[in-house]
Symmetry: C2
């Protein structure tokens, strides 16, 4: 199939909206649905067809992207989408959800004759806007090859990872490492601050060492500027840590530090930082230690 297929996009949030825009910019025909209809209508002027339900997207499109909030949202959307989806269509789920839930949903679509890929992405809001996301795709390889060109309109690096659910498994591994790195930054820099060290000097020396860390180099300026506008919000990272623990329980892998950081990030969400970038997790420790990480 070299003729472009009709596309669908369900979920126009912080990530989904710019992703759908990039499909439209690339010249594809896209049917869109969003729970809050106003966001979908904003795309109509750019050529999108606004659908009234996921089922309608299913009837109109042959390759349908999902980018919604989490496992519950995927299951809700799937319920409606299953009513309209056509045999031979592909559903590409870009939401980060539990690999086992994803495999269950894939099975439901397969029973209607449709294919399903898990295709979570990294690169945050900025990557979604610039079309430089990284996609990690699990599912049938031939199906992956069919949709690769559409993913390329939204992302820069497209990895085929393996069987159904494996894209998600890899994404969760990445976020686990990101979350624990953020906690390491919090503990290291709050202790250093209270001892009287300059955070910029700590970063400079750290970057000269084997412990050098691009994520800390990217996140520390947000902390110093007290500007926690979300690239990736704390509530989503907290959710993903929960998914990792779920995966650990299913696979019998104890994840002690992940469990602790899940609790700590949960405390930060409870303190009201859920909508901020996950770098804001440092404020819990700052509050407890009675110090703020900043230049003196």
């Amino acid at each position: 199939m070299s003729e472009p297929e009709k596309l669908g996009f369900i979920g126009l949030g912080i990530m989904g909206l710019p992703m759908a825009e990039n499909l439209l910019k690339a010249g594809y025909s896209v049917a869109v649905f969003n729970r809050n209809r106003r966001k979908a209508e904003g795309l109509a002027s750019r050529g999108a067809k606004v659908a009234v339900s996921p089922a309608e997207v299913g009837r109109q499109a042959r390759v349908i992207f999902l980018c919604v909030g989490g496992s519950d949202s995927v299951c809700q959307v799937a319920e409606s989408l299953l009513e309209g989806v056509q045999p031979g269509s592909v559903v590409v789920d870009c939401t980060t959800i539990s690999p086992s839930v994803s495999r269950r949903v894939a099975e439901q679509f397969r029973s209607r004759g449709a294919d399903f890929l898990d295709a979570p992405c990294s690169g945050s809001k900025k990557g979604a806007a610039n079309g430089t996301l990284t996609f990690m795709v699990g599912g049938d390889k031939k199906v992956f090859q069919r949709v690769e060109k559409y993913l390329s309109a939204m992302g820069e690096k497209i990895f085929y990872i393996g069987a159904q659910g494996m894209g998600l498994q890899l994404k969760l591994t990445q976020n686990l490492i990101g979350a624990l790195t953020c906690q390491a930054m919090a503990e290291g820099f709050v202790l250093a601050q209270k001892a009287g060290l300059s955070p910029s000097l700590v970063l400079e020396v750290l970057q000269a060492s084997v412990a050098s860390n691009p994520m800390i180099a990217a996140k520390l300026p947000q902390v110093l500027k007290r500007s926690f506008e979300p690239n990736f919000s704390l509530k989503w990272m907290h959710k993903d840590l929960g998914l990792m623990l779920e995966s650990g329980r299913e696979l019998n892998v104890p994840l002690p530090a992940t469990a602790l950081v899940h609790e700590l990030f949960g405390a930060s969400v409870a303190m009201g930082h859920g909508e901020e970038d996950f770098a804001a997790a440092i404020t819990l420790l700052e509050t407890l230690a009675g110090v703020e990480v900043k230049e003196q």
Copy 2:
């Protein structure tokens, strides 16, 4: 003072021996002492003067480097060195110990008219051999300037950090981040392995993301090769985590993830991995999960 001073070096272990060799190679006159005398005698053929005690090093040298095991060893060496140290001499302690213990020892030397710097280093065995260590120095800045040229014979990056103890405080921050990163690698890669992902693919995708991590890129090959020859041994990292917790208690900074990783690394030491590189901390989780991180 542009004429090179007589130097001393106490502690010829995995780090100290190559550091002392680099001072000798640079043409300095060095009096050496080691508890196990054989290692000191090995340096005699390269021009070192073998002393019978730290006190004798104190009598012979004007700038004396220490590189011993930990706080207790520094206190023991100081007891003897204080008997021989000359007024106007400088003691440069390259051992990673508690900042508050270091400040106490510095005070003892000051009462004999000698100066003291805390100058812990990073770069491991390889950096010590190649003379590419990073030094983080705390204490009087003029005293730092007096010894900087000698540190340059052993290291590539020499940072003046601030007041007494601040070099150590920064070194501990660095190791805290390194240890937590190692635990993140352990949890992420053991979970990924059990789920059926290839560790090399996980690393490749990770390195393409904002969570990219030079330390994991350096440590994972050791894990895959099951080759835990120490660059920095687990027992020393465990000790340093203990020092960070001590510092946290003194400064009223709770360090929940550091405390957990300290316990986990302690369990790995108890399992017999203390002499291996700290990357071997992953074996605890592998044992519990019944899986080994490797290519299939």
